[in-house]
């Protein structure tokens, strides 16, 4: 096994073992932190598929996260408070299925438009669509508008009790591992080769007879759907959802996680979200001015650390 494989296995093993240990030693809060981290890591892994491997810089990925969460919150809301009987349910399969379906559809429709543009236009149009979803949710009084929505009851899955923080973490962790494997398989497939090839040299792929647009669109939809799944988990975790989750700054944070950890690597997004969450938590405890060191670090990483944390771990060989 290569050094990288060892590192990956070690990090994933630590992520599996440490949080429950925290929980059993009376530090329930750190388990929560790990659950948040794991769920955001899923979102970051999904973003990495298009951003890292596909070179498609989406500045609106948080919209998928938020839509996924609302796909859990809205049915639960109707189940408790009536109205829209067709939607009202606490069945986890339905809710999560809805989350995946809606975000896939959202990614399909917006992707079809966005992918016609290039470069910074792509960055900005993805953000524009995310802002539209943001304001759409803000405008719906029934679901709390700007105030957000409290999810009073979590998704019900057979054999799982998501009210138990350990089981919720376990679900998130297993999901993360599966998603990492899925993305890895996609990337190493012929499909993934075309996607990566188009990032480096689009014209060559077109000349070779590939419909690059279609390949990218499929990747965009897969990425959106995975992120929607992460959103469904996030809704179950926080039990409170608000349009704030889809703010452009949140999309920026997801991008930062990918870059900080190392784009176009299997483990990078996980390391990135871990570093992000841990920094946010502990800098925030030291001072209310934690944005200052955080921002400086962000600038420093971009200026001086090529390839993110994975680049450092590799010893700068690439």
């Amino acid at each position: 096994m290569t050094r990288m494989t060892w590192i990956t296995l070690t990090v994933m093993a630590l992520l599996a073992v440490l949080p429950p240990v925290f929980f059993w030693t009376g530090n329930a809060f750190y388990l929560d932190l790990a659950t948040r981290l794991t769920i955001l890591a899923i979102a970051a892994v999904s973003l990495n598929l298009i951003l890292g491997y596909g070179g498609l810089v989406s500045f609106g990925h948080a919209a998928c996260l938020g839509l996924g969460a609302y796909a859990v919150g809205i049915p639960a809301h109707h189940w408790l408070y009536g109205g829209m009987d067709a939607l009202a349910t606490t069945n986890g399969f339905v809710q999560i299925g809805l989350a995946v379906a809606i975000t896939a559809l959202f990614a399909l429709v917006t992707g079809a438009v966005c992918l016609r543009t290039r470069g910074v236009y792509f960055i900005m149009i993805t953000m524009a669509f995310a802002q539209m979803v943001y304001y759409l949710i803000v405008s719906i009084e029934e679901y709390g508008g700007d105030d957000g929505l409290v999810i009073d009851t979590r998704s019900e899955l057979p054999g799982f009790n998501l009210d138990d923080p350990l089981q919720l973490f376990a679900l998130a962790y297993v999901s993360l591992v599966v998603v990492m494997l899925v993305v890895r398989t996609i990337v190493n497939s012929r499909f993934g080769m075309v996607l990566q090839g188009a990032k480096g040299n689009e014209e060559r792929m077109v000349t070779l007879g590939f419909n690059v647009y279609l390949y990218r669109l499929v990747a965009y939809v897969i990425s959106g759907a995975i992120c929607g799944y992460a959103g469904a988990l996030l809704g179950n975790f926080t039990t409170f959802i608000s349009p704030e989750m889809m703010d452009w700054a949140r999309s920026g944070e997801l991008m930062f996680m990918v870059i900080l950890g190392g784009a176009a690597t299997t483990l990078g997004p996980v390391l990135g979200s871990a570093a992000f969450i841990v920094l946010e938590e502990f800098l925030g405890r030291l001072t209310i001015y934690w944005h200052l060191p955080f921002g400086l670090m962000l600038i420093g990483v971009v200026l001086f650390v090529r390839g993110g944390l994975m680049g450092l771990l590799r010893g700068g060989k690439e």
Binding site: N27, G144, D146, D147, G148, V150, S242, E244, I288
Partner: protein, 396 residues
């Protein structure tokens, strides 16, 4: 070497043991407010009042040491809930107090109450928590959102104002405030605008002010708390509406916006009227001590946010003292809180059936005090022992 390592270990063990002993007796209060973004001006005022209350108490509630841990909600419900979770789960506080914003309180409520802790609002008073979502472990040292604007509606009726235009931020409290004035006001509502709120709130009200003026209303009711208040007042005067469309505001002209308006020499605000349940000029011992010590320590008048935060700490301290620092029996603590046996800065203080205060509301006017500082004074009492409109919906 070995001995050195051993003695170090012993020292560490001793250090860990010592605070653990203290911790067992300490009662911890988490205080959630806004310490970053422009709204931190409110949060800092509340924090100052809490620190002053702790000074006055000497950090003790009877024989029990009190400890306050602050949390920053960043003016956003999700961040507020996150910091509340941390206070409850990691710091293991006994009380969570504070909360400026209704939507932050609504988002955080479950985290506190499900963990069996006590939740004390020092400002936010969303209708839901006063009514259907009321809880024995929730108390407020402020008001229900609708009450202050209701008092203003009563003032409007007494003054014979015929028609009204309403402006408020588009969030839980803004909607409650509008509902409150609409419930009492007997004239015609000519129009209503709810503007974007939050860290990226709308602060230029040109379009809305033009609409309000064109509506032909006799009066303009607004609710713009914190930094937005000063900005609104200036634009209102810049638009020359003072004589055309008289302003009736709640929570907009206060101890926070007045110093800034005075610094900018904005004398148009003098004489403007607003309703509130508290005023620095209220004549009781607790208030005199609070206001004069606050001014001495921080160099300015406290706002109503500060007064309510001071009361929140005093309420908690009174309950902790009543149970002798023993937090093991929640029912005893609950009963002690409910009896509200403390000297409130607003004079008499008691809780209604839904644990919201039953209290007087005053009409206040902006005046210049003896030192030349701009402040408010009480003009008249609008409501006596007012009970909020949602108490009947509370089944507890």
């Amino acid at each position: 070497m070995n001995l050195n390592g051993f003695s170090r270990l012993a020292m560490v063990a001793a250090m860990m043991a010592a605070p653990a002993q203290l911790l067992a007796e300490d009662v911890k209060i988490g205080f959630v407010t806004t310490l970053t973004t422009g709204a931190a001006v409110i949060g800092n005022d509340m924090k100052n009042a809490v620190d002053l209350a702790m000074d006055h108490l000497g950090g003790m509630a009877g024989e029990t040491r009190l400890e306050v841990i602050y949390g920053d909600d960043q003016f956003a419900p999700d961040a507020g809930k996150q910091v509340t979770d941390k206070l409850v789960k990691q710091d293991n506080v006994d009380f969570v107090a504070g909360y400026i914003w209704s939507h932050v309180l609504l988002a955080s409520r479950k985290s506190v109450l499900d963990a069996g802790k006590f939740l004390i609002s020092a400002n936010a008073g969303p209708s839901q928590i006063a009514g259907k979502l009321c809880d024995p472990h929730f108390f407020s040292t402020s008001w229900q959102n609708d009450q202050t604007p209701m008092a203003m509606g009563e003032v409007l009726n007494r003054q014979g104002v015929q028609s009204l235009y309403i402006m408020a931020p588009n969030y839980a409290a803004g909607k409650d405030m509008a509902a409150g004035v609409e419930r009492v006001f007997e004239g015609e509502i000519k129009g209503k605008d709810l503007t974007k709120w939050g860290a990226d709130a709308q602060l230029d009200f040109s379009a809305e002010l033009a609409k309000a003026k064109a509506s032909g209303a006799n009066g303009l009711f607004v609710f713009y708390p914190g930094a937005a208040g000063g900005a609104f007042i200036k634009q209102y005067h810049q638009a020359g509406l003072k004589d055309v469309l008289p302003l009736y505001s709640v929570f907009t002209v206060d101890g926070l916006s007045l110093p800034k308006l005075q610094e900018a020499d904005f004398s148009g605000v003098l004489g403007s009227k607003t309703t509130n349940q508290w005023d620095p000029s209220l004549d009781n011992e607790a208030n005199k001590k609070f206001v004069s010590d606050f001014k001495a320590k921080y160099g300015g008048y406290p706002s109503f946010y500060a007064a309510q935060s001071y009361d929140a700490i005093m309420l908690i301290a009174s309950a902790v003292e009543a149970v002798g620092g023993d937090m093991s029996d929640p029912d005893a603590v609950q009963a002690a809180l409910k009896s509200a046996d403390f000297a409130s800065v607003r004079g008499d203080f008691s809780f209604g059936s839904n644990n919201m205060p039953v209290q007087d509301f005053f009409l206040r006017e902006v005046v210049v005090d003896a030192d030349g500082t701009w402040t408010t004074k009480v003009v008249e009492t609008v409501y006596e022992d007012h009970v909020d409109s949602y108490a009947a919906e509370c089944k507890m």
